[in-house]
Symmetry: C2
Subunit: 515 residues, 2 copies
């Protein structure tokens, strides 16, 4: 399927086609979970303040390298001290400038039903992003292609627990880098109707993607300017550096009121101090610098605080995820983001090579860190393996189940007269059982979360069934759900304009790739 | 190995033997984790109060069946209303009686270094207990034997993260029921030097086990009476019933100031209402009734509140663990226990048949519920599979790693001048790396938690290594650590007296098994 041959089936939206979907497991409707419990504080208020102050001192003593001259010029006008590429920040300026960061905003999807609230107690879960490799149902790891990319998009679209596209769910290296952003954004906007990400890899790419979002939503520039419709992850090149495409991405998007998520890549022991407090201080310094720059570009521009601090295996240098260090820094990151009253981004990550117990426990520990850390925006929610070096269809299925369980955990226990069940308890009495009573009968269908993967059969039945493991189940489920995918409805005019845009920009040769 | 042939190697305590242990992965010293973060409240204070009041109303309107006449007689003297087997509790009496429950106490092990603090912010992790079946390294599931039991004891002893023996890590059905408690307690007290559990299965068993604990500790009855040295899990036969052996267990142990852990077995939809609020109200009613009875037997007797509410698969009736329902009730149980200022018991449980992703995610979700619920006492910490129907050596290894990671997560982030690393950050500067700096060199050996199982090699090296999964690793590690087991040192007099006790009681025929 290429952008030219794509014919989204406009008459078979999921609501209307019931045939092949009746055999699918139930899923809950699209809905953002909310964090109704108090996030866990792994740092005392004093410790949090120490890290905050340490990061201000980093920014004022050492500063950050801003590799883009336009960005430095803007910072200079805002009173920062510039010396060569180095930008030093006065603490008061930092605190004053970030005051305009909004604490909550929307991320508009082309389907308004999939527009998201970012911030407050809202959570949103995204798919995997940015891996170079892919493992499909044949189990063979290979460099990602557009076909793999599209397989993953189908899963992102079909599952209601996936609230947005985190980026390219795998890098499609068979698309030339000059036009990759155009073709992929076409796929993202037509094969899914959920919110999308744009890689900041040079000003023109940001402009192309933003224009495609505008077309897909069929709104004018003024509306786009009021309604953030795309986000970009801005990774600092830790330690203490923001490179040109990242700075340009902020300039392009913040100036247009689009969403920037600043995420320092601070692996403790490698690109950041080996001590968690030091890694967090550096993470915070880099995040603050990025946040300041968004507000310098445009006060009030939407920006989120990303926490990605983890540790490396000090023997091999390999990055590790879902570790006890990761959990604590994920929670500490949430505390820092809330200190600055901005939304918080974390991730569902693991370092496992195989879809085994390790993949599961590292992912759940990551989610534990994110969720108890009060996360708003979960990147890499479904499908991430091997420290981000490959995406997996089967891991996608596993993660969908994990995130669905997290969402169910976040549903409050309803406490009222009916649920307290005083009458039913009396009816059953000592030594009885509750299967048969009306109180149970009225509720048994929807009382509990139903996982896709968990096999709760007794051992004998399970053995007779061939002793399937979670891997067997995820493979079957991936096939089932891929088959259930339907291209979402799209406005005909939007589709025609998108195609025309792709055609024109591709014929123009896309963008230069030698920046 | 029988109790007769056992010759604990008294001169090869772990501290002295270094030869074969040098190849073992590091482990941290024996140490109880502490909960330094605020537990998660899944219920508001009002909701908590509603559940509390609902449970008092259950106890006053319906009461509990106490199947033992002596227990009923004691309750009658304490002002409860008795009608046939039914005991009804006045709310004021409940609240007044439980006031004497201690909020913190010790569980003495025969090795004083393994004596535990129960309550407050202390945590203790136990091994698996009470499963009928076993899966060893051959992968074949079979009914438990003493040999299997002993294999599991070796792992319980060798790992420092296992703080106590939760019970029989598998039921050794080749030991006759009349003498099983004697032979197993001998094994528990000689093959490990950690605290032990006693099954309440008739008064004489409690007495035998308590006497063996006294002998092992070489203390007199008065000391035993001051120093709790054994615990018993008391499960109510939900709904609303306490059977004879359980009530006798409380009478035997509470009267001797030994530890009772009341754990209602309230599976929502089966033995308890299908609504979580109702299941919790019933759990709480049963827990309060048991707590009351301990204090009627002896005011001030140590007692803990056990939460075990989960849900069943409403299609098959199969119990489920580590579900979103389980997580929330685990946390709510902690809130209830803290309301009554008693220690809280929860578990590390799963329903998986295979050691796959399901086993891992259900266990980590269980631990998430327990830990964020402010658990003090974790039963079934290592080795539990299949909803408690089999113990697994490999799962034991996995759980040791999971619990070690939880313990590492609970270690506070140290925030001070050295860890904030201002100097090191300046030294490295923008674009540098931290591998080489002194700040890293001084700390790289112990900076991060080192898991046993997680494989962080790059994909190519991992493939060349045979693509091992976590299962491969756990199998190897089980062999390694079993080989590293050394019988802990034991006082010669204690050992001789224990042997004499076993010999005498076995020759007497143990206990009647037709109760």
């Amino acid at each position: 399927m290429t952008s030219e041959s794509l014919e989204p089936n406009r008459r078979r939206g999921r609501a209307r086609s019931s045939g092949s979907e009746t055999r699918l497991p139930d899923q809950k409707p699209f809905k953002q979970p909310r964090m109704r419990y108090a996030p866990t504080k792994v740092l005392s208020d004093d410790e949090l303040e120490s890290i905050h102050l340490a990061s201000l001192k980093i920014l004022s003593d050492y500063g950050m390298d801003f590799l883009d001259p336009d960005a430095r010029e803007l910072m200079k006008k805002s009173g920062a001290k510039i010396e060569d590429q180095r930008v030093r920040f006065d603490p008061e300026m930092v605190l004053e400038t970030i005051k305009t960061c909004p604490s909550e905003f929307k991320l508009h999807a082309r389907n308004p039903a999939h527009t998201l609230n970012i911030g407050g107690d809202w959570m949103a879960f995204g798919s995997v992003a940015s891996t170079p490799n892919f493992i499909g149902l044949d189990g063979v790891r290979h460099a990602g292609t557009r076909k793999d990319f599209q397989e993953l998009l189908k899963l992102s679209q079909v599952f209601n627990i996936i609230h947005f596209n985190s980026g390219y769910p795998v890098e499609p290296v068979d698309l030339h880098a000059s036009i990759r952003h155009i073709e992929t954004t076409f796929d993202l906007l037509t094969m899914t109707d959920k919110a999308i990400h744009c890689y900041s890899l040079g000003r023109q790419r940001n402009r192309d993607v933003l224009e495609m979002c505008r077309i897909a939503r069929q709104v004018d520039d003024e509306t786009l300017d009021r309604e953030p419709s795309v986000f970009s992850i801005i990774n600092s090149s830790s330690p203490l550096r923001l490179d040109t495409p990242m700075l340009q991405g902020i300039m392009e998007f913040s100036s247009r009121n689009q969403i920037i998520i600043i995420t320092p890549f601070t692996l403790a022991g490698a690109m950041a101090p080996i001590t968690l407090a030091g890694a967090l201080a550096q993470q915070n310094a880099e995040a603050l610098a990025g946040m300041v720059f968004t507000q310098v570009v445009r006060p009030g521009a939407p920006v989120a605080y990303g926490g990605f601090t983890s540790n490396v295996d000090m023997q091999s240098g390999a990055p590790a995820f879902g570790t006890p260090e990761y959990m604590r820094t994920a929670m500490a990151g949430g505390q820092l983001a809330r200190r600055y009253k901005v939304p918080y981004r974390s991730s569902n990550v693991c370092a496992a090579n195989a879809l085994d117990a390790q993949a599961a426990y590292e992912s759940v520990f990551s989610l534990w860190g994110a969720v108890q850390g009060g996360v708003n925006f979960v990147m890499h929610g479904a499908g991430w393996m091997e420290g981000g070096l490959h995406s997996s269809l089967e891991k996608f299925i596993l993660d969908v189940d994990l995130m669905s369980m997290v969402a169910a955990y976040l549903e409050p226990i309803v406490v009222d007269e009916a649920t307290l069940a005083h009458e039913a308890i009396g009816q059953v009495g000592p030594g009885g059982h509750f299967f048969g009573v009306q109180h149970t009968q009225d509720r048994f269908r929807d009382a509990f979360f139903k996982p896709m993967i968990s096999d709760w059969r007794n051992y004998e039945s399970w053995q007779e069934g061939g002793s399937p493991t979670a891997v067997t189940k995820t493979k079957e489920l991936a096939q089932t759900w891929l088959a259930a995918y339907r291209t979402p409805e799209i406005d005909e005019k939007a589709l025609a304009e998108l195609k025309a845009f792709v055609s024109r920009r591709v014929s123009e040769g896309g963008v230069a790739t030698d920046f």
